[in-house]
Symmetry: C2
Subunit: 205 residues, 2 copies
C-alpha cells in the first residue's frame, strides 16, 4: 500500500494515537487503513462413502486436489459462501444438515481463517468450474493423499473419515503455524463439548 | 475507495474478466482491490454464577453493556485475538478450556463475522481499559438486559445461561439479518452434533 485511497497522498507506517501497532496511515488526511484476516469458506461434499475433490486449475498448488473453497464475500454468510464456492468450483449442489459447521483453522502466518461445512451431494451432476481441471468422487482409500493441495484440506478429510466411524462430527478449531524450518503444525484449540449425563456416562464403554 | 493504493490513479467499479461481481479496479494499472468480511472476536468471561460485562466508552452504542470483543488482527489466531481484547477492554485474564469456541454469527449486512469463546476469569483483578467506562460482574438476574449493546452479545448471554442448566455448551452458528422495517432476525444455521450411541440413546430419558 503506497497511496491513500481517499486523497492519493503517500502512505506511511506509524502507530496511531491510542493504538499500539503500526498501521497504514495517510501522510496528509486522517485516514487509517487497517488490514485484517480474510475468511476462506468451503465444503466437504459427501456421496455415499465418497467425498468430492477438485483438481486445481490455478495457482497456488495448480494440479493438486482440494475441497471447494474460496474467499467469503461481503454481503454473504459463511455457509452461503461455502455453498456458492461449491457450485462455482465443482458445479455441485449440496444439501446441508443442521450440524454442517465442521472444521475451522486459524492461519496467522498468512492472515486467513478457514471454515469447512459438511454437505451431502444433491445429485451426481457435478462438473469442473473455471478454477478446476477436474472434479471427482473418492473413497478414503482412493484419495490421492500425497497430492492434496493444502494442510487444512488434508486435515479435514482425515477428521471426516475418522469421525465417520462413530457418525459423530464435532466442531473443531485449529491453529495452523507455518514454521521456517520445521514445516507446518496443526494444533487443536477447541473441540465442541459433548453432553454426557451421569447416567449415560456410567454406561459408556 | 477513490484512488489506487499502488499508483494513485482513480478507482473505478467494474466486473473484472472472469469475475461476476463489480470490484474496485484501478483505471490505469491492473490492481483489483477486493473487500471481504472482517472477524470480530471476543470472550464470555465467567466467574462462579456471574459473567463479566464492559460498559462501552466509544461509539457505536456508547454507554451500553457488551462482552469484550474487537477486530481480529493480522498475525493472530481468533482465540488469541479474543484473549487480547479481553485484556485490553476489561483488564481481565481468562483461562480457556478445550471447548472454548461457543457462538459464531454471520452479519452479511455489515460484513462481519463474530466469534465468542467461553473462559473462566483467572482472578478478580479486572479494570476498564481505554474503550470501557466500567467493567462489572453480573448474575443472570442482574444483567441489564435492555442495555446490552449488540444483538450478538445478548444472544450469546441468553444461550450461556440456558446451556448452563445442562452444563452442555454446543457450538452454534447464526445468520443475523438487519431488516429495514422489521428489525433484526437471528437464525440458527448450525449446531454441533452430539454423539449418541445406540446404547446411550436407548437409555436416554
Amino acid at each position: 500500500m503506497k497511496f491513500c485511497q481517499q486523497c492519493a497522498s503517500p502512505i506511511i507506517l506509524k502507530v496511531p494515537d491510542g493504538d499500539d501497532k503500526p498501521r497504514h496511515c495517510c501522510s496528509d488526511c486522517d485516514s487509517i487503513f487497517y488490514q485484517n484476516p480474510k475468511n476462506v469458506v468451503g465444503t466437504l461434499p459427501v456421496y455415499e462413502d465418497k467425498v468430492l475433490l477438485c483438481r486445481r486449475a490455478i495457482e497456488p498448488r495448480i494440479g493438486k486436489w482440494t475441497l471447494p473453497a474460496g474467499y467469503m464475500e461481503n454481503g454473504e454468510s459463511s455457509l452461503n459462501g461455502a455453498i456458492r464456492e461449491t457450485i462455482e468450483e465443482a458445479g455441485a449442489e449440496i444439501i446441508v444438515a443442521s450440524d454442517s459447521l465442521y472444521t475451522l483453522y486459524n492461519l496467522p502466518n498468512i492472515n486467513q481463517v478457514y471454515m469447512f461445512f459438511r454437505g451431502e451431494l444433491a445429485n451426481l451432476d457435478f462438473a469442473p468450474g473455471a478454477e478446476s481441471l477436474e472434479v471427482q468422487l473418492f473413497t478414503e482409500a482412493e484419495i490421492p493423499w500425497k497430492e492434496i493441495a493444502f494442510t487444512v484440506v488434508k486435515s479435514t478429510l482425515e477428521l471426516y473419515f475418522a469421525d465417520l466411524k462413530s457418525s459423530h462430527f464435532p466442531v473443531r478449531m485449529f491453529d495452523v503455524h507455518h514454521h521456517k524450518d520445521t514445516g507446518i503444525t496443526t494444533n487443536l484449540i477447541s473441540h465442541s463439548s459433548v453432553n454426557i449425563s451421569s447416567k449415560d456416562n456410567s454406561s459408556a464403554p
